[in-house]
Amino acid sequence: MSSARREPRPDPGKRNEPPPSIVAEGVALRFVLERHSSLKSVALQTLGRVFGRVRIPPSAPRELWPLQDIDLQLVRGDRLGIVGRNGAGKTTLLRVLAGIYPPTRGRVTRVGTIAPVLQLGLGFHAELTGRENVHLASAIAGTPLSTMKAKLDEIFRFAELEDYVDVPLKYYSTGMYARLAFAVATELETDTLLLDEVFAVGDQYWIRSALERIESLIDRVGILVLVSHDLGLIERICNRAILLDEGRIQLDGSVPEVLDRYRSGA
């Protein structure tokens, strides 16, 4: 499906708001891996300092730079696919774009609302009913409750769970749970949606409608960022792609260009 020119529908309620955008400039992220500070290590170091003689060296902190020199501009209509090997920094980049990790260097400027979906069913609780879990999941993602309540029937209809709206989640099968989580994630009201390996799980028939639903996001979301090892999905959905390797953007370009480079392993 070639949808590179398709622009998202303008949202009538937001006509006066600036279009959504995310700009990352010179972003780098550092993790400091210290030995987990426990009371024991703190006490030992303090004692060592007080009595002078016994010198317990503080374990040298190890530094990791999971992201470096990230420059990325996303504007309304962008549907970015992120590819790269495991550990290349794909999810970490989503976290930085979403504002979960503050960058160590550089900065990220965001306009509009952002909903990251790093895990399907985040915040779901087994004792709560399907309805309560949908409310909770949408509040966690910052979608207004009134919006979600209006979409509730549609979510359960799509997940094929109309009879389970008020049943606690623990009585759901794994597949039912996954379908509900997927239905919520793709119904969030947001300017920017960040999806991390959101697989459609279910029988073949349902997977087809799930794929259609991901495609329908093209029209509903201002900016879509998709991390996936499913290159076919990226070809169908995205109009831009980047290749990440060892925390750096190796290539930022068109989908075929980036996927070719990724497939060739360069």
């Binding site: 993790f31 500070s37 009371l39 979403a98 979960i100 790093l118 985040l122 004792e127």
Partner: protein
């Protein structure tokens, strides 16, 4: 925009999440129990009945209406204690949310304090209305000071709670330390006995009493003990100290929380 204004504005945008977390905490605590929400009232009554028997008949605190004293000090204390215990793990137990959604992290300790506060309000109003008259507690004009007491108690508990919620991320041992320290603090506050009996006989030797008054909780509890047990208004001295200390703790707690809020995700 001032950073604090921005923080508050972000928090307000997530008020629905805060509300749902409070409801969820309360609902899950009593769901699938036969008595349901009644437990939030039955358990303090039973706890107090046991304490009343022990301290009145076994340890023999010769105090008229001892149960009323216990009620007026124990309920606010239980709120403080459970809020601190719950808040200290509120972030580390919701690690999944903190590392996967850019939520304002303050909603987590705030929701635990909120849920406990709903319990406190219910328990204290039902106990005053149902059990109070049997024990000889009659509504008094001094009760108009109670909302002020609730405010100070909430501010103090929240301030300390948010501080603990962050500190526990860096030092996991704190959760255990809090659990151990709370009973000690209860005896120091004092919750189970007054510093002196109504007739002036000291329970705590007079020379030690000033040390008890270094404890901010002592002053906050006075805002409940005075109106409910003594039927009199707290003194200006008590009002000033209780509100000053509570607000100070709240401001320090929020300052500490917001100072570390962006960094703590790297330590989960």
């Amino acid at each position: 925009m001032h950073p604090v204004v921005a923080k508050v504005e972000r928090l307000l945008r997530y008020r629905e999440l805060l509300w749902l977390l409070v409801v969820q905490t309360l609902a899950l605590r009593y769901r699938r129990t036969a008595l349901g929400f009644v437990w939030s009232l039955v358990s303090p009554v039973l706890t107090m009945a046991i304490l009343a028997v022990v301290f009145h008949f076994v340890i023999r605190i010769e105090m008229a209406h001892y149960t009323v004293f216990l009620l007026s000090a124990m309920l606010p204390w239980s709120f403080l204690a459970s809020t601190l215990a719950d808040a200290s793990v509120s972030i580390i137990h919701r690690e999944d949310l903190v590392t996967k959604q850019p939520i304002p992290k303050l909603v987590l300790p705030l929701a635990t304090a909120g849920a406990n506060f709903v319990n406190l309000l219910l328990a204290i109003s039902v106990l005053l209305a149902l059990v109070g008259p049997q024990l000889g507690v009659l509504p008094s004009v001094a009760w108009i000071y109670l909302p002020f007491g609730f405010f100070c108690l909430f501010a103090f508990s929240l301030g300390l709670g948010v501080m603990l919620s962050v500190a526990t991320v860096y030092l996991r041992d704190l959760n255990h330390i809090v659990t151990v320290m709370l009973p000690a603090w209860m005896y120091a506050s004092p919750v189970l006995y007054p510093l002196a009996l109504p007739n002036g006989t000291p329970i705590i030797p007079v020379e030690f009493q000033p040390y008890f008054k270094l404890n901010p909780v002592y002053w906050i509890l006075q805002l409940f003990v005075r109106p409910i047990y003594w039927g009199e208004a707290p003194s200006g001295h008590e009002l000033m100290l209780a509100s000053g200390l509570s607000l100070l703790v709240l401001v320090l707690g929020l300052a500490f929380f917001w100072w570390k809020e962006d960094d703590l995700v790297f330590h989960l």
